[in-house]
């Protein structure tokens, strides 16, 4: 088990009370402490974001494991935690570069007056300790400086290569405790890295952490790759490859680096999606120019055809419980959004606004559907309810396309394309409230982001 919540932390910190193991998704707040409600952010990024001090994590003794020194690792983890919190748009962290370092003793006995003097409402403390088995234990604590209370205490035992995950889990625990939302930092993204001229773009399958860290190219770019999706367990990626000048859906196995066809067919297969349990794959297939949506077991077998109109039926996204599918069809003329049961029954249109609607994606919370809306010379990202009500547009640009949800359904990533001969695509994200728009750092240009769930 490369990553587990440490149980032995209490033995290390004699001053600490019994170390209570907390679920990363469900820390129990003391009743006396107020949380920062999510709804405080409206319009522009708020100037009164909660100030949180995040000094470098301390270490009981400087040790080097796998080329990583516990003291420098402590600083790096503090920086990743601060960057995560900043990226959420809710907090104004004072990271290791702007506050003093702490001693090991302070981890469980913060000097609250010091942090209040920096106007920090909360302070994050933590430590990094090498284990006898060649890994690290990372402790993560959150305190309320005014009340002098502890809000979060977690520990993670990690292998050296997973240190960024420890930072993300710590940031998730803090974010969840303060906002009341489910976590989302400890997750990964599959996307398409783009390079080269517009007329002959090189497009490679690539993966990265939710903050752009641990970036890795999967394909070498010799065959055009598009529209990847991580399986819910992160072990596989479905995507479309133009290998051998055909359009086909492949299932790529991350551990072995091998891939197989989702189904054997002489027809083009594309637009693949996973079912929430990872056992089924939706794909679209064009037969004689007519595209319909099919479902097949991840292990193969006979595909089930779910649509059979003369129009283009394409894409598709399961509801979180797997009972319904939202998809796109031009059966009524232009592209619109429809829902159906997972067996293809009860197909009904849900989008009726002006313009064309495409690329619907069901929120992991189930309450909303994100989409691309085309009209008035713009492609914008918006959301509506699964019955088609409450439409809200979140972005405003020449061409924003293909939303994908954060694991907690609070943030939407998409790709933005600029016009002209040197036009490029890059990956962006925006809060569900339409604020905190920002570009994700990628080594090359990027498109088709696909955000996976919280890591298992």
């Amino acid at each position: 088990m490369p990553f587990r919540t440490a149980l032995s932390l209490a033995l290390l910190l004699t001053a600490a009370p019994v170390f209570a193991q907390e679920s990363p998704t469900g820390p129990t707040p003391p009743a006396t402490v107020e949380t920062t409600p999510r709804e405080t952010i409206e319009g522009q990024l708020s100037q009164d974001r909660t100030v949180i001090a995040v000094p470098a994590f301390a270490t009981p003794s400087v040790t080097t494991v796998a080329g990583l020194r516990t003291d420098s690792l402590g600083r790096q983890i503090g920086e990743v935690v601060a960057a995560d919190l900043e990226r959420s748009g809710l907090y104004a962290p004072l990271g290791p570069g702007s506050v003093r370092a702490i001693t090991m003793d302070e981890v469980t006995a913060p000097r609250f007056a010091d942090w209040k003097a920096r106007n920090a409402e909360n302070v994050v403390h933590g430590f990094v300790r090498a284990t006898a088995t060649g890994g690290f234990i990372v402790g993560c604590y959150l305190y309320d400086t005014e009340l002098g209370t502890e809000l979060v205490r977690q520990g993670y035992e990690i292998v050296p290569g997973d240190w960024r995950r420890a930072a993300h889990k710590c940031a998730d625990a803090i974010y969840s405790r303060l906002s009341g939302e489910a976590p989302f930092f400890d997750s990964r993204i599959a996307y398409i890295a783009e390079s080269g001229p517009k007329g002959n773009r090189v497009k490679q399958l690539a993966i990265m952490d939710s903050d752009g860290g641990n970036h890795k190219f999967i394909t070498n770019g010799q065959a055009l790759a598009i529209s990847p999706r991580f399986s819910p367990d992160y072990k596989k990626i479905v995507y479309v490859s133009y290998l051998n000048n055909r359009v086909r859906v492949f299932i790529y196995d991350v551990a072995s680096g091998t891939q197989k066809l989702v189904t054997e067919s002489s027809n083009a297969t594309f637009a693949p999606r996973w079912s929430p349990d990872g056992r089924q794959i939706l794909y679209s297939m064009a037969v004689g120019g007519n595209t319909d949506i099919y479902r097949i077991s991840v292990d193969g077998g006979t595909p089930v055809r779910l649509t059979n109109t003369p129009g283009i039926d394409v894409g598709g996204s399961f509801s979180p419980d797997g009972s319904k599918i939202v998809f796109e069809s031009d059966r009524s003329g232009g592209q619109q959004i429809y829902t159906m049961n997972a067996d293809g029954s009860n197909q009904r249109r849900i989008s009726f606004g002006g313009g064309r609607y495409a690329t619907p994606e069901w929120s992991p919370r189930g309450d909303l559907i994100a989409f691309t809306k085309m009209g008035g010379g713009e492609f914008r990202i918006g959301v509506m309810t699964p019955s088609g009500g409450g439409e809200r547009m979140l972005t405003n640009s020449w061409q924003d396309e293909a939303p994908t949800w954060s694991p907690n359904g609070r943030v939407i990533q998409f790709f933005r394309t600029t016009p002209g001969k040197s036009g490029k695509s890059t990956i962006w994200q925006v809060d569900l409230t339409g604020v905190n728009l920002r570009r994700l750092p990628t080594p090359r240009d990027g498109s088709d982001p696909s955000w996976g769930p919280i890591l298992p």
């Binding site: 010799q222 290998l243 051998n244 679209s284 283009i312």
Partner: protein, 170 residues
Amino acid sequence: MTIRTTTATIAAIAMLAVGACAKKAPEELPPPPAGTDTPTDSGISNAPIPGSQQDFIANVSSDRIFFDFDQYNVDAQDQATLQSQAQWLQRNPAVRVTLEGHADERGTRDYNIALGERRANAAKNYLASLGIDPSRINVISYGKERPAALGSNEEAWAQNRRAVTVVIER
């Protein structure tokens, strides 16, 4: 005499090309020259090899037909173009072709692949109606992935909403 010299030159070039490839064999085949704007004048000869892409380009009114926004119907002008292609295909019965369907950038990615499929199949079906064996025609959609014109204006988009016939060189 001229012809023999030319053949020898082509053979030499071909060998050079093979030699260059052999040094760094790709793991997988690269995508086809998507623009298919193959130069018709190599400077070597004015007489294209019968049945080649070069011969095709020289003897048809165009290798491509164009579509209106989000449409895939073959209009009168497209029919004339495809008729000239059908005549050439009838003169070269051993030749197989690929029909590439393309869309402009003003559509979403997956839909545009489906739209390119529609366009390529519309062209294929028209060629078949003129007596060309459909088994000679391979279809692939590039959606918006391989624009021929790179601008972001109606003139460029009109050039990109296309179905292009490409000879499969043996």
